[in-house]
Structures are given as structure tokens and as C-alpha cells.
């Protein structure tokens, strides 16, 4: 029986599926249960240095084709973040990716330094949330200079811990941004954050459904956009591992986005469609496919489309 092991920046994952940031991430018991249900690793909610309230409800809704959210990165701040990380480490031996966020470059440095002390297996730097623009302006992921500046400071503050920079698809060239952050010291790229932002209204109430009026789009509808972003980044940076995420909704989707260049696969909105069964369902599909294939290990499929 072939296994689904992959290695990401020197960290061993029992399978490439990782819980994407912002889903089921409020507490350690919630995150560790995702591991019990079969995820290869988990990504925490975006951790802030100071408490950050997020937006009022409604903050999310879904349709068959897509999902929208504008949670606004609610978090209780560093004290609770540290507590959650410690409790999580006690509850699971599987890899923990700590996702961090800040409103300015200096705060990115500070939160990175504080979180690095807890020795997460990797740090994912969220510079691409589309839902806090009214508060902080355009995400750092929209500018090569800003994205590189954040990367450089985080890199300097976290020792040997691998860092992945989470990029936005809502830019002229995601590849240019990816190159800039890798030049600045990023070990990996997470692609993609949600698309848009988009907007939906209730026609009877004549009110935008999300309290933030706009929100990031995820779910099956954005999968083609994610595949292309991952494909393009891998083509330009073949030695940079990618956490490929965006609309992955089956085991076959996970295999496809790995073949485009993903080493790990972020899974978030799929839980809306498949519930707790998501992890086992997807890994079963992947195992069955791999078993019948000519590949000996799952790592052999990473970026295989580029060799076609």
C-alpha cells in the first residue's frame, strides 16, 4: 500500500491535506479534532498581536457553486494565541502551521517573533486578506515592495522556522509577487487567498448580505483560478514549495492542484460541502488513485503537468 506522505520544507506530513486558515480555527480542541478526522496538518486562524474584533454577522454564506466570507480576521490577540498554540501542541504531534496577520509591517515582525517562540512547524504570513481593506487599505500582497518588506522582517525574526507567504489572486501578476517574496527570504508560497472581493445582495431587503458589504469568494467556483496561479508560480519558481489552496473540493481536485505544483493542499470551504467526512473522503480518493497509478510516492506527482 502506497502512502500519502509528503515533505514540506523539511517537515513530514502524513498526507498533504492541511486545514486552511480561518476555518474551525477558534480553539485548540476544534483544530485537533480536524487532525483526528484525518487532516495531515492544520493552519491556525490568523493570529493578531492585539485583540481584533472582526465584522458583525452575517459574515459568511454558501451556495452550491461558491462561498463568500468577510469574517474580518476576528481574534482575541497574542495571549489567547499563545494559549491555543500550547494547548494544540499538547493535543497533537502532527504539523501545526501558525498563520499570522498584522496591520503594519512592524507588527508583522512582532507577532512573528512572539509566535516563533512557540516553535510551530511553519509560519504562514497572511498579507492577502481582502476583507479588511476598509480598515487597512490594499493588502500588502498587492505590492511587490510591501510584500517583500513584510517577508524580510518576518524572516529575520523567526530563526529557522519555514515561512510561507499567503498571496492574493487579485493582482496583476501573482508570479511577480511570488518572486519578490522568495527573493526576500520566503521558503514557500501559499496560493491563493480568496478571490474578489465579491458582492451579493438580498433583493427583498435591498441590503448586501455580508455586513462588510463585500467578501472573499472561495469554494468550487474559484478552483480553476487557484490551479492556474499554482501552475504559474511553480513554472516560475520550481524549487519553491507551494501550499495550494482555493476551491479544492475532492481528492481528485487535490491531486490535480498538486500536479500543477502544490506540495501541500489547503482545504477549507470543502468542509461546508462535505462536513466532518471531508478528510477521509478526500484521502481515500487520493489513495485509491495513487494505488492504481504508476507513481511510487505522492511526491512524484508534484508539478508533473510541467513535464507533460
Amino acid at each position: 500500500m502506497k502512502n500519502l506522505h509528503v515533505n514540506f520544507c523539511g517537515v513530514a506530513f502524513k498526507n498533504p491535506l492541511v486545514l486552511a486558515s480561518g476555518v474551525l480555527g477558534v480553539t485548540a480542541p476544534s483544530l485537533s479534532r480536524v487532525i483526528e478526522l484525518g487532516a495531515g496538518g492544520i493552519t491556525t486562524k490568523s493570529l493578531w498581536r492585539e485583540p481584533h474584533p472582526g465584522h458583525p454577522n452575517p459574515t459568511m454564506f454558501g451556495t452550491k457553486e461558491y462561498f463568500m466570507n468577510a469574517v474580518g480576521l476576528s481574534d482575541a490577540g497574542l495571549v489567547k494565541g499563545v494559549q491555543t498554540m500550547k494547548e494544540l501542541r499538547e493535543r497533537t504531534k502532527e504539523p501545526i502551521i501558525a498563520n499570522i496577520v498584522a496591520g503594519n509591517i512592524q507588527d508583522f515582525g512582532a507577532i512573528a517573533e512572539a509566535i516563533a517562540e512557540l516553535s510551530p512547524d511553519a509560519i504562514e504570513v497572511n498579507i492577502s486578506c481582502p476583507n479588511v481593506e476598509s480598515e487597512f487599505g490594499k493588502p500588502f500582497a498587492c505590492s511587490r515592495i510591501d510584500a517583500a518588506a513584510v517577508t524580510k522582517l518576518v524572516r529575520a525574526n523567526v530563526g529557522d522556522i519555514p515561512i510561507a507567504i499567503k498571496l492574493s489572486p487579485n493582482v496583476e501578476s501573482i508570479v511577480d509577487i511570488a518572486k519578490a517574496v522568495v527573493d526576500a527570504g520566503a521558503d514557500a508560497i501559499t496560493a491563493i487567498n480568496t478571490v474578489g472581493p465579491g458582492m451579493r445582495w438580498n433583493i427583498d431587503l435591498r441590503t448586501p448580505i455580508l455586513s462588510n458589504r463585500v467578501g472573499g469568494v472561495s469554494g468550487p467556483a474559484i478552483f480553476p483560478i487557484a490551479v492556474k496561479a499554482v501552475y504559474d508560480i511553480h513554472a516560475a519558481l520550481p524549487n519553491t514549495p507551494i501550499i495550494a489552496t482555493g476551491g479544492v473540493n475532492s481528492g481528485r481536485d487535490a491531486l490535480e492542484i498538486m500536479m500543477a505544483g502544490g506540495t501541500l493542499v489547503g482545504v477549507g470551504t470543502a468542509i461546508y460541502y462535505h462536513g466532518d467526512a471531508t478528510w477521509k473522503k478526500f484521502t481515500d480518493e487520493m489513495s485509491q488513485w495513487l494505488e492504481k497509478s504508476e507513481f511510487e510516492t505522492l511526491s512524484d506527482i508534484i508539478g508533473i503537468f510541467h513535464k507533460a
Binding site: L24, S30, S74, D75
Partner: protein, 294 residues
């Protein structure tokens, strides 16, 4: 029409695929409203959520906020929500009038078991089941609906209602009018016995054969009820309230210490299940996930 003839939701344990849920709010007009008690009002909307008693919905006050409420009634083409004014969203709601629009989505979660499986009674009693419903404060809201469904199924219903003071008692008249044996406890003795609902339950458990206890209210009260029922071997269900944000299993705000989501596994769970939650009756979590002791 009987309550469950109105189309109660899916049975406990039956899987609902998440994308089958209507997670976009739909517009509903406030048909009428009345005061139940000080700062507690029932709002009536025309339509149905196909809810089962004990399930909840998300009520959206446009351009303000959206909050979870248990469903006080969903039959005969009407949805009733009994709501306590506690914060900015409910304050805004209390300023609204009949004819104003809100958004509602749901119903979500697991409700109370109401179509009792006619299992052989452990105490060898007659064919009808004897159900005791216990509401504390505004937790009483969903229990009349629950009682009506039991009554339709031929069960004998006792309703125990508790409040700090008689002015805060809700659903007492409806309970009596529906023919439920209705017993009241107030902290100050201004109505019913002076004391807690648990004192009444203790007496009933001593003197009567009870098939099922269902409760909704302050968690410390429910914890005491759960312990009494487990001790006496009486099946019991509790509604475990946690901070509900999305209502459909994505945000993770409502997880208990086992990692289970109360918006889907709950809010109604068995007494035995509730006792596996180390936070049950001890603490819950706020909007940013911080611990708050009950």
C-alpha cells in the same frame, strides 16, 4: 393543525448535506409581536423554516447584526421567536414594528427528540410516555413547541418553568392552556414554589415514573438536571448554548472541548454526551474564542 403535521425538520442523526441548507438569509416580514415579560417579546413571522423543536435560526437585522435564536414555534404557517433584549442587535429589533423586514436563515442543528420511540418503559408503565420539560429563564422559549409535539404523539407533558421573579416568567399561560401540567419555581417565591426548577424535578423523580426529561436554560441548572437524571437512570436531553456565528459548521466558534460543533452536533444533545464536554456547566467562549465562566 397539529404541530408535527406542520412538517418538523429532519430527525436527529439524519445527515443534512451542508449545501442543501439555505445559508443565504431570506426576507421575512414581522407580522405581529407582544410582550412576554420584562424585556422579553415574541415576534411572529409568516412562513416556515420546517423546524423541529430545539433547533435554532439566525435572525438578521439588516445593517446591524445577525444573532442565533431558538425557535419557539414553527407550525400553522407561522414562525415564533421569543427574544430577550440583551444587546445592540436585540435593542434595534425591539425598535422595529409590524410590517418591517428582517432576514432569517435556518433551521439549524439538532432538536429535541419528540417522536418518542415506544420502547418498553423501564418502569413498566402504560402506553403513553411521560415527558418532563424544564425551562429556566428565556430558555423556556422552545419548550412549549416541544411539548406540543409530544402531546401530538400522545405523551403526557409536564412543564417546569423557572425564573428569578414572577415578572420574568414566560410561556406559563400557553403551557396551562395547552393542557400541560405546569409547575413554577421563582427565586423569590413571587410565583410557584420559592426555589429552583431542580427542587421540583427532584420531587417528581422521587415520586413518579418519568420517561424523558428535556431542558433548556442556564447551563448550571442544566448540569444539575443532567446529574440528577443520570443518577436516576432517566433519559435526558439538554440544549447546549454556545456562541453561534455561522450556524453551519465552518467558523468553529461553537465548539465544545471535545472539538464537536454545537451548531451541528447540538444544540440538543443527550445528558451522557453533555457530560463528555469538560466545559459543560463550567465555561463557554466569547466572540473571539476567549473563555468565559458560567
Amino acid at each position: 393543525m397539529g404541530c408535527c403535521g406542520g412538517g418538523c425538520g429532519k430527525q436527529n442523526g439524519e445527515e443534512t448535506l451542508h449545501h442543501e441548507l439555505n445559508t443565504e438569509p431570506r426576507a421575512f416580514v414581522i407580522d405581529r409581536m407582544w410582550e412576554e415579560a420584562e424585556n422579553i417579546r415574541t415576534f411572529v413571522f409568516k412562513g416556515t423554516l420546517h423546524a423541529k423543536p430545539g433547533q435554532f435560526c439566525m435572525l438578521w437585522i439588516p445593517e446591524c447584526d445577525e444573532k442565533p435564536f431558538s425557535i419557539a414555534r414553527d407550525y400553522d404557517g407561522e414562525i415564533w421567536l421569543t427574544i430577550c433584549k440583551v444587546g445592540p442587535a436585540t435593542t434595534r429589533l425591539f425598535e422595529m414594528k409590524a410590517g418591517d423586514y428582517v432576514g432569517i436563515r435556518g433551521a439549524y442543528g439538532q432538536g429535541f427528540s419528540t417522536a418518542l420511540t415506544p420502547s418498553p418503559s423501564p418502569k413498566g408503565r402504560g402506553e403513553h410516555s411521560k415527558v418532563v420539560l424544564i425551562g429556566g429563564g428565556y430558555g423556556t422559549a422552545p419548550l412549549h413547541f416541544t411539548g406540543k409535539c409530544h402531546q401530538d404523539a400522545g405523551s403526557d407533558v409536564t412543564m417546569i418553568i423557572g425564573a428569578r421573579h414572577k415578572n420574568l416568567l414566560i410561556w406559563e399561560k400557553e403551557s396551562k392552556d395547552s393542557g400541560f401540567r405546569t409547575l413554577v419555581a421563582t427565586n423569590d417565591g413571587s410565583a410557584g414554589i420559592q426555589g429552583f426548577t431542580t427542587h421540583i424535578l427532584e420531587d417528581l423523580l422521587k415520586n413518579e415514573a418519568i420517561d424523558l426529561v428535556q431542558t433548556c436554560g442556564p447551563e448550571k441548572m442544566m448540569r444539575a438536571i443532567v446529574e440528577m437524571c443520570i443518577d436516576q437512570g432517566v433519559p435526558c436531553e439538554v440544549s447546549v448554548e454556545r456562541y453561534m456565528k455561522c450556524g453551519f459548521g465552518i467558523c468553529g466558534q461553537c465548539v465544545v472541548e471535545t472539538g464537536e460543533k454545537m451548531c451541528q452536533t447540538g444544540p440538543v444533545v443527550s445528558a451522557e454526551k453533555a457530560m463528555t464536554f469538560s466545559d459543560f456547566g463550567v465555561f463557554h467562549r466569547g466572540a473571539e474564542g476567549q473563555r468565559k465562566n458560567w
